[in-house]
């Protein structure tokens, strides 16, 4: 019994190490086989459209509602301490530092990451990647690489859009509905938010999340089992692993940033 348990822990360890190794190899091949400029740039633009532009609706709607809820909750709590005028800074700092990068990355993993995994997994299952290889075209360079860089570019842009719509949602609730003074709302926000510490740090987080989430998505698709259940499992793993990676990395990055990095 004891021996079996130890063996199963060992097996799990081997699987994890093997997955990390495969992911590292894939990343190495992507980094050293950048798309060719003539074919790669249109493919990159296509991917920014597929991963970024097509994710806009979910990002804008979520950002708007999250900003509105934040304003309502903020008002409810701040009013108890007579600090309602701090609603603007509360919303802006929460969104710019944490909610913007984290929520956008998790939504991106659900919308674009899962689609990437399913697309690559199906291309593999229907021999499209193999046929490309047999035509002397490297699928990593032609298919995987533009998708990774597309996600890397899209997520920071989506995060900026999320931030703007969330603050707009908070303004709608705070100023238009609850009747706060717009001057106080905006000027308090402006005096509390620092460009370098709040806006740039949030964008740095989203750059890291964009890379990690898209790498997980392409890895899961490229190494998925070529069966319907294999692709379904890979898609699920993309969303779960990406969400956990985003939350874990957010803690690490926040600790580094608050620690004066």
């Amino acid at each position: 019994m004891m021996f079996e348990r130890t063996a199963s822990i060992g097996r799990l360890g081997l699987v994890i190490v093997r997955d990390w190794g495969k992911s590292g190899q894939l990343l190495f091949r992507i980094l050293f086989r950048l798309p060719k400029p003539f074919r790669g740039f249109p493919a990159l633009l296509q991917q920014i459209f597929a991963e970024g532009v097509l994710s806009l609706s979910i990002i804008v709607v979520s950002g708007l509602f999250i900003g509105m809820v934040l304003a309502l909750q903020g008002h409810h709590t701040l009013a108890k301490f007579g600090a309602s005028m701090e609603l603007g800074p509360l919303v802006a700092l929460s969104v710019l530092r944490e909610l913007g990068p984290v929520v956008t990355a998790i939504l991106f993993a659900g919308r674009a990451g899962s689609a990437l995994t399913a697309e690559i997994g199906l291309m593999k299952a229907t021999a499209q990647l193999s046929s490309m290889e047999m035509m002397a075209v490297d699928p990593i360079q032609r298919i995987i690489s533009p998708r990774l860089w597309g996600g890397f570019v899209s997520l920071p842009l989506l995060t900026l859009i999320f931030n703007v719509t969330a603050i707009y949602g908070a303004w709608l609730v705070g100023v238009q509905w609850l009747g706060f003074d717009p001057g106080t709302f905006w000027s308090n926000m402006q005096s509390s938010v620092e460009f370098r510490l709040d806006v740039v740090n949030g964008i740095i987080k989203s750059v890291v999340f964009g890379f990690v989430v898209t790498l997980i998505a392409v890895h899961q698709g490229y190494f998925s089992e070529s069966t319907s259940s294999g692709i379904a499992n890979a898609t699920t793993r993309t969303v779960v692993y990406s969400s956990l990676a985003v939350l874990g990395l957010d803690f690490v990055l926040t600790a580094m940033m608050i620690g004066g990095w």
Partner: protein
């Protein structure tokens, strides 16, 4: 006679299970050679080994005087310009229409002008009888049409060697007849060397110049279609005549049914 492909003492295992145990095969230039055998004997694996997508555990594969598994990626890709492969599922890119699928290798590997690419694609599609389907998406094609488009794409760069993976499986009699005819015509018209992996006995034997039958990781028979059909060995007879029981048993290995039932009831 010159050989385009030479396979020597090839060994290959997957997950510890031997697939090939020292097989030797030669493919002469300009011929249609069939590699046949029951399902699961590694026929598709053999094509992937010839194409350099898999590495053998021992032995070597020479294609056009190059040892496939000694080449680096650039050399391997250069060698693949001389090969075309038709996959069992067609392997067409689902996001591209028929024209773009056939134009894909031309766009990737040549500097031809758009009008020349257009002319070549039309000619290739005309050869497989699908010039009229130029704007259709792969999802709008029947299985037979998809394979013909894949065939046009495989010959787009005028390869020397073409590998067919189960080209007839799941086809209706008309599509099958069309594919059989096309493989033979293309081989002669373009001066190709063709390797057909299949278990469709009649169709494959009707167009092959030479046949290898593999089973249990070994070549169990080889020769012209006529000599293969006249071979008296039990293994070949079972495969060619489709006998349910023989050297390949009908029952998956298991204890005797009576013993198992008694044991269960006890």
């Amino acid at each position: 006679m010159n050989h385009l492909v030479e396979i020597e003492k090839l060994h290959f295992s997957r997950n510890g299970r031997p697939i090939f145990s020292g097989i030797d095969i030669v493919i002469p230039c300009g011929k249609v050679v069939a590699i046949m055998g029951p399902s699961g004997t590694g026929k598709t694996t053999l094509l992937r080994l010839i194409g350099g997508q898999l590495r053998p555990s021992a032995g070597k594969i020479i294609v056009a005087d190059k040892n496939v598994h000694r080449l680096n990626q650039t050399e391997l890709y250069r060698l693949r310009h001389k090969m075309g492969m038709l996959f069992q599922t067609g392997g067409l890119f689902t996001h591209l229409d028929v024209f773009e699928n056939v134009a894909f290798p031309l766009r990737e590997h040549t500097q031809l002008t758009e009008s020349m690419i257009h002319s070549i694609v039309l000619l290739k599609l005309n050869m497989v009888g699908l010039r009229g389907a130029i704007h259709l998406m792969p999802g709008e094609l029947s299985g037979g049409m998809a394979r013909r488009v894949a065939m046009a794409r495989a010959i787009a760069l005028d390869p020397e060697l073409i590998l067919y993976d189960e080209p007839f499986s799941g086809q209706d009699p008309i599509s099958m007849g069309v594919l059989v005819r096309l493989i033979r015509i293309l081989n002669e018209a373009l001066g190709l060397t063709s390797i057909i992996v299949s278990h469709d006995v009649q169709e494959t034997l009707s167009i092959a110049d030479y046949v290898y039958v593999i089973s249990g990781g070994k070549v169990i028979g080889q020769g012209t279609p006529k000599t293969i059909m006249e071979d008296g060995s039990d293994e070949l007879k079972q495969f060619l005549q489709g006998l349910p029981d023989g050297p390949v048993p009908f029952h998956y290995p298991a204890p005797a049914i009576a013993d198992e039932l008694i044991q269960r009831n006890a």
